[in-house]
């Protein structure tokens, strides 16, 4: 086995037992990048000092291991573009809280990964610097917007990765690339220094090879931050303490079984969930509010917040002028401006925020009966390259099944639940829990992963 194929946990253990040297791990990751990056277009830039920094971090929790970071985290000394030509050449003069804490804990930024420009999309095809291809099958898209980070894991071009999600941007690319993606509760992780998209739902989180890795990485950067007023001021728990726990007696509601577009995916999921019953959990079909309305809620809320957030890019203090926005960003900024103008704000913006309340109430009711809810993360397998240009609503339709939980701030985790041998593509399940209760999804996802054959690192 090549050393770049080690999980985060395996790497830490192997280094501690002195079975491998950190240089050897970097060499293996470097080789994978040299062989594949020009084709897959995963990293936009790499950190030339990574190995030197790693050697100085050997006694820290993450042992100097190479971590891929989405290019919307401000990183001092490393270009930060959010995959937009507006920010081409921008060198941040401050560090995001997430990457600062990552480094304090001995995680090394190996490189900055490609994404949909400004995180506007679900394909990584709207990047101003070219699309990323899915390492599992390069005729297909990796999903997005954290597509570069998900692909870096699937291609073993880093040991672990960081992304951010507004509605699906961690979990959907994780599903399409067959990796684990954890979106924490909104407010669990600081947004300071992350290029703002929709401020009321933006949530940074890990993309990793296993659930265990996701917990180790999340431990390094979750928790209160005085620089982000929306951050939960309570100390974050030790997420690894929820691993390997019994799920006996836990109640799991399977939602969206009545959504007809995803019949085949639903059938497969239902079959795979049987294992949770064997492990002592109660699994039953539950009725949730129609996810189709969430498309409208998310579209309106996201466009409106984008319109405000991207108003700051004037090309005066940093970056290039507004003529450099790509088509997708222009569409989103302008639609947001439209829905916020006088006369339309009530018709669209306030209406969307009311339907958002309906979803919150629906979840409250569902979580009075169930500990965790589950549905497919994405309607089907990764789409073919070019698919995102077929509809102005591509991303919203692909993210339909996670949007309601995102606008409600809930934590969720994607784990692979099926692998198609013919195409080498994966399907992912999305487990969600009430706000601040990440422990529930971690327990279930960890048990599911360890007791099924779908995780490609656990079943090498």
């Amino acid at each position: 086995m090549k050393l770049n194929q080690l999980t985060l946990k395996e790497s830490i253990d192997a280094l501690d037992k002195k079975e491998v040297k950190i240089e050897e791990i970097y060499q293996a990751v470097d080789q994978a990048c040299e062989a594949e990056n020009s084709k897959l277009n995963i990293y936009l830039s790499t950190n030339k000092e990574a190995l030197n920094q790693a050697k100085a971090a050997s006694d820290k929790p993450l042992r100097g291991l190479p971590i891929a970071v989405k290019d919307n985290f401000c990183t001092v000394g490393l270009p930060t573009t959010a995959s937009s030509k507006v920010l081409e050449g921008f060198m941040p003069t401050y560090e995001s809280t997430v990457t600062k804490r990552l480094q304090v804990n001995g995680g090394i930024i190996y490189g900055k990964t490609n994404m949909d420009a400004w995180a506007h999309g679900s394909s990584t095809e709207t990047s101003d610097f070219g699309r990323t291809l899915n390492p599992r099958n390069p005729e297909h898209l990796p999903g997005g917007s954290s597509g570069g980070s998900a692909a870096a894991i699937a291609a073993d071009m880093s040991i672990a990765a960081i992304g951010s999600e507004t509605a699906g941007s961690i979990r959907q690319p994780a599903a399409w690339c067959g990796v684990v993606g954890l979106k924490p509760s909104y407010g669990r992780v600081s947004r300071f220094g992350v290029v703002s998209m929709a401020s009321s739902t933006d949530s940074p989180g890990p993309l990793t090879k296993t659930v265990e890795d996701a917990c180790i990485l999340l431990n390094s950067f979750a928790g209160p931050d005085e620089k982000d007023g929306t951050c939960n001021q309570e100390k974050a728990p030790d997420f690894t303490s929820f691993l390997g726990q019994s799920i006996k007696g836990m109640k799991i509601g399977v939602i969206y079984q009545d959504v007809r577009e995803i019949g085949e995916t639903n059938e497969k999921l239902l079959k795979e969930l049987e294992i949770l019953k064997e492990l002592g959990a109660e699994v039953e079909i539950a009725q949730a509010m129609d996810p189709h309305h969430a498309i409208g809620v998310y579209t309106v809320v996201q466009r409106a917040e984008v319109s405000s957030n991207l108003a700051r890019y004037d090309g005066i203090r940093y970056g290039n002028d507004r003529s450099h926005f790509g088509d997708e960003s222009k569409r989103r900024i302008m639609l947001g401006t439209y829905t916020l103008t006088k006369g339309y704000a009530d018709k669209y913006y306030n209406l969307a925020q009311k339907v958002r309340t309906l979803y919150l109430e629906n979840y409250k009711e569902l979580f009075s009966k169930y500990d965790v809810l589950v549905a497919p993360t994405s309607p089907s397998y990764a789409k073919k390259i070019g698919a995102s240009f077929e509809s102005a609503m591509f991303g919203e339709l692909e993210d339909m099944l996670v949007e309601a939980s995102s606008v409600s701030g809930l934590p969720g985790i994607n784990v692979p639940f099926y692998h198609d041998q013919k195409t080498n593509l994966y399907l992912g399940a999305n487990f969600i829990a009430p706000m601040w209760q990440e422990e529930k999804i971690i327990k279930i996802a960890d048990a599911f992963e360890k007791n099924t054959k779908w995780n490609s690192w656990r079943n090498k």
Binding site: Y94, G319, I333, Y348
Partner: protein, 101 residues
């Protein structure tokens, strides 16, 4: 709900996004397609429902009004990414013009 390209040009001006005539046509089509999906929201009964603008429930998160030097840019850092500077200032486009010009 459909949007025409005259409306699109007006929105582009409000959003300060330069667009071509051709783009205004394609954007009008994209807007109409998106708003068609969004119009589904009108089917929901929200007569008794309040709006949700944030989900954490935290209220009035405040801090002491003290400037922290370590959290602030020096003048040099603030100007580091500006394309045009003049004697330590940002250079901005004219906003007010002499009417004779």
């Amino acid at each position: 709900m459909s949007v025409n390209n005259t409306q699109v040009k007006h929105i582009a001006k409000l959003a300060n996004i330069p667009i071509s005539e051709e783009e205004s046509q394609t954007l009008a089509k994209a807007f109409s397609e998106t708003l068609e999906v969004v119009d589904n929201l009108k089917k929901a009964d929200v007569s008794q429902v309040k709006t949700t603008h944030q989900v954490t429930g935290f209220k009035n998160v405040l801090r002491e009004d003290i400037a922290k030097e370590k959290n602030s840019f020096s003048q040099k850092e603030a100007l580091a990414n500006a394309k045009v500077t003049y004697k330590g200032y940002f250079v901005v486009p004219y906003v007010l013009q002499n009417k004779d010009n």
